[in-house]
């Protein structure tokens, strides 16, 4: 589904590259974890596979098509959803509106977007009353769940999440991870989670660790 081929990335010069010749593959129906210490470049790697940035060398293929050729904006719009550590919801909108907005931007074919969003939110414990509130009125855990639903609702096969549990308590983190597992396994999505928490990584089907500028397969 997603192939990373000979990818290298550096900020200033190649001598100080974050990594070189990275070759990884990601399949649908599976949940992947990318582990690494702070500053190792895992979020940058997520930016590359999410189409937020371009690799300095190598290519990233989505269903055997270079994402550069698809167009990064188009790639983000049609094929990939992103869950951020800081949720990145639109603050002047309600939870439902955040989700329907993402659906409209991605061109979702759902005929009743609002009802669909309400149903999805309800499935993660955001009832109708909460769903109609401005997202700024929701707790961190609730906001993260809204962000995950926003990523899910667009029917994209690839979901990338950057430290999705970084700001959450243990219980909520556990709930979120379980929710990701469910999406990956029951809805055949490819979920790639960037994390530095071992507990989150353990819940994934595959684990890559970014260490010493190289990706190592842990699981």
């Amino acid at each position: 589904m997603l192939s990373v081929k000979d990818v290298g990335y550096w900020y200033e010069n190649k001598d100080n590259s974050l990594y070189e010749n990275v070759n990884l593959s990601f399949e649908p129906g599976k949940m992947y974890a990318i582990l690494g210490s702070s500053g190792s470049g895992k979020t940058t790697f997520l930016s590359l596979i999410a189409g937020l940035d371009k690799p300095k060398e190598g290519t990233i293929l989505y269903n055997d098509k270079e994402i550069n050729k698809i167009g990064l904006t188009n790639y983000r719009k049609k094929y990939v959803s992103i869950v951020f550590q800081s949720y990145n919801l639109l603050p002047y909108m309600t939870a439902t509106q955040n989700i329907t907005t993402a659906m409209e931007i991605s061109g979702s074919i759902q005929p009743t977007k609002k009802e669909y969003a309400t149903k999805l939110l309800d499935s993660v414990g955001i009832d109708n009353e909460l769903a109609q509130k401005k997202v700024t009125k929701l707790s961190g855990g609730q906001q993260q769940r809204v962000a995950i639903i926003r990523a899910m609702c667009c029917d994209h096969d690839l979901i990338v999440a950057d430290e999705p549990t970084g700001n959450l308590d243990e219980k909520t983190s556990k709930d979120i991870v379980q929710f990701f597992e469910k999406i990956a396994h029951t809805e055949n999505k490819c979920i790639i989670i960037v994390t530095h928490e071992k507990e989150v990584a353990d819940a994934c089907d595959h684990i890559f660790e970014l260490k010493h500028h190289e990706f190592q397969v842990i699981k």
Partner: protein, 504 residues
């Protein structure tokens, strides 16, 4: 259409920012609208002034040329003849042939021939006297005569030469009374009978003022006798074909001279006026006036007309100076209003661009989120444009209701200022221009006073109203301000990278 929905949500959610922008945009649009309405009203008033003034061209003796010719002759002959008066000059009457040739040119709406003189009273008619006491008037007249001043009210005191002699009646020889200044501007109007027309040429028909008619118990169809201004033994029987009323009043000078009293003005055909002036004046007139159907053709008309006359002896005067004087304050107001529109629009674009730029800086995060979920930059800019457009729309409504009042206040203040300046300049010019030009040439003073009164009337009637045209124009300016301010401030959006925004 998603970005429109987002724009609506954002505008509604950020009430404080929206209200602030509405206030700023309304203030900008109110000033733009005030400028537009003032300019429109000033242009409309100018157009109206143009119509009311029409375009009149006067053919008359070239006084400047006559005077310089006379001065030259005086200088040349001074060596041999010390009796020549260097301040005098001879006036060549306008040949009727030339005046008629010009009248045959295109674009003439109407024309009139003028030949003025005076006439003395006889037993059959008594002039309206300006003074209650004949004896005191006579005494004063006598006293004035001794001091070298012309006397008035005394039939025996006619002492001027042919064509300019003082009498009891002022004779205004015209082609038609309808085209005469006093009748065309409404100062005088026929109340009984008919006015003088081209059919009265070579007749002794006259139109007299109603006060004069009542005082002498005369009515239409009656005849009376007037005497030649230079030779009272020569008399003429004239027939009254019409009686007119006049709203003009006599000035202090007129109090001393019967012929200056408006009630003693007798209208007749220019041919009869020439008869009174003497044989030398046959086939001539003092001046001719031509009213053009289209004021725009004035220059072309004058060019053609000049080819038909001897420009050394005769001149063609246009009313352009009077018109320019009349519209000067309006032009200034229109020009100032145009500057208001341009400056406020530019200021509006700058102010709103800065505000939107600041707003975009605050909304970088939102832009980053939208870009990260696949929204295009064009649609993000579109969202900001729609937000600004909604604000502009509300501001447009507010400005439409209040712009007219601001326009009225600002416009009136501007106009008052311009009118005061214009009036002081005008009165200063009049003072420098000398005294009354006399009635003999049938023009100067009358035209000036008419122009002055019309100017006041037109300037005072500047009416600032709000029409659909101004609203549409305002909408156009608002749209331009809106578009340019968003585009200028969106340059930053085009450079924004979602990764940098979201990871910063």
């Amino acid at each position: 259409m998603n970005f429109i929905k987002r724009a609506l949500l954002s505008t509604k959610a950020k009430k404080g920012r929206t209200i602030l922008l509405i206030c700023i945009f309304s203030a900008i649009l109110i000033f733009v609208l005030a400028g537009l309405t003032i300019r429109s009203a000033a242009l409309s008033a100018t157009e109206s002034a143009k119509k009311s003034m029409g375009a009149t061209i006067t053919l008359s003796t070239n006084k400047e040329a006559s005077f310089s010719k006379s001065t030259q002759q005086s200088t040349d002959s001074s060596a041999t003849d010390s009796s020549v008066d260097p301040g005098s000059y001879s006036v060549t009457p306008v040949p009727l042939e030339d005046a008629t040739a010009i009248a045959k040119l295109d674009n003439i709406k109407s024309y009139n021939f003028l030949s003025s003189t005076s006439a003395g009273a006889t037993d059959s008619i008594t002039p309206i006297s300006s003074s209650d006491s004949t004896s005191s008037s006579t005494e004063e007249s006598s006293s004035q005569s001794q001091q070298g001043m012309p006397s008035g009210g005394d039939q025996d005191s006619n002492s001027f030469g042919a064509g300019n002699a003082q009498g009891d009646f002022s004779i205004s020889g015209v082609l038609t009374t309808a085209a005469a200044d006093d009748f065309s501007d409404g100062t005088s109007k026929i109340v009984e009978g008919v006015g003088i027309t081209a059919a009265d040429v070579d007749s002794n028909n006259v139109v007299i003022e109603e006060t004069l008619a009542e005082a002498n118990d005369l009515s239409v169809g009656d005849t009376f006798t007037i005497s030649n201004p230079t030779d009272e033994t020569v008399t003429y029987d004239v027939t009254i074909v019409g009686i007119y009323s006049s709203s003009s009043s006599s000035d202090s000078l007129g109090m001393n001279f019967n012929f200056l009293n408006p009630s003693n003005t007798i209208y007749t055909s220019y041919t009869f006026a020439n008869t009174l002036k003497g044989d030398d004046y046959t086939g001539t007139i003092d001046s001719a006036t031509y009213e053009l159907s289209d004021p725009e053709t004035m220059s072309a008309f004058v060019k053609k007309a000049k080819k038909l006359i001897d420009t050394d002896s005769f001149s063609l005067q246009t009313n352009d100076q009077a018109y320019q004087q009349m519209i000067e304050p309006l032009d200034n107001v229109a020009s100032f209003a145009k500057n208001i529109v341009v400056l406020v629009t530019i200021a509006g674009i700058i102010i709103l661009s800065l505000i939107v730029m600041m707003s975009i800086r605050e909304r970088k995060y939102e832009i980053g989120v939208l870009l990260s979920i696949g929204e295009s930059r064009v649609k993000v800019i579109g969202q900001f444009f729609i937000e600004m457009f909604l604000i502009m729309f509300v501001s447009l409504i507010i400005a439409s209701f209040s712009g007219r009042f601001v326009g009225n206040i600002v416009g009136q203040q501007l106009l008052d200022q311009q009118t005061t300046e214009s009036t002081s300049t005008s009165s200063s010019n009049n003072q420098n221009g000398g005294g009354p030009s006399g009635q003999g040439q049938g023009g100067g003073r009358g035209v000036s006073s008419i122009v002055s009164s019309k100017t006041t009337e037109e300037v005072a009637s500047l009416n600032i109203t709000l029409s659909i045209k101004e609203i549409v124009q305002l909408g156009g300016f608002g749209f331009a301000i809106c578009l340019l301010s968003v585009l200028l401030s969106s340059i930053g959006i085009l450079r924004l990278q979602p990764k940098k925004i979201l990871t910063s």
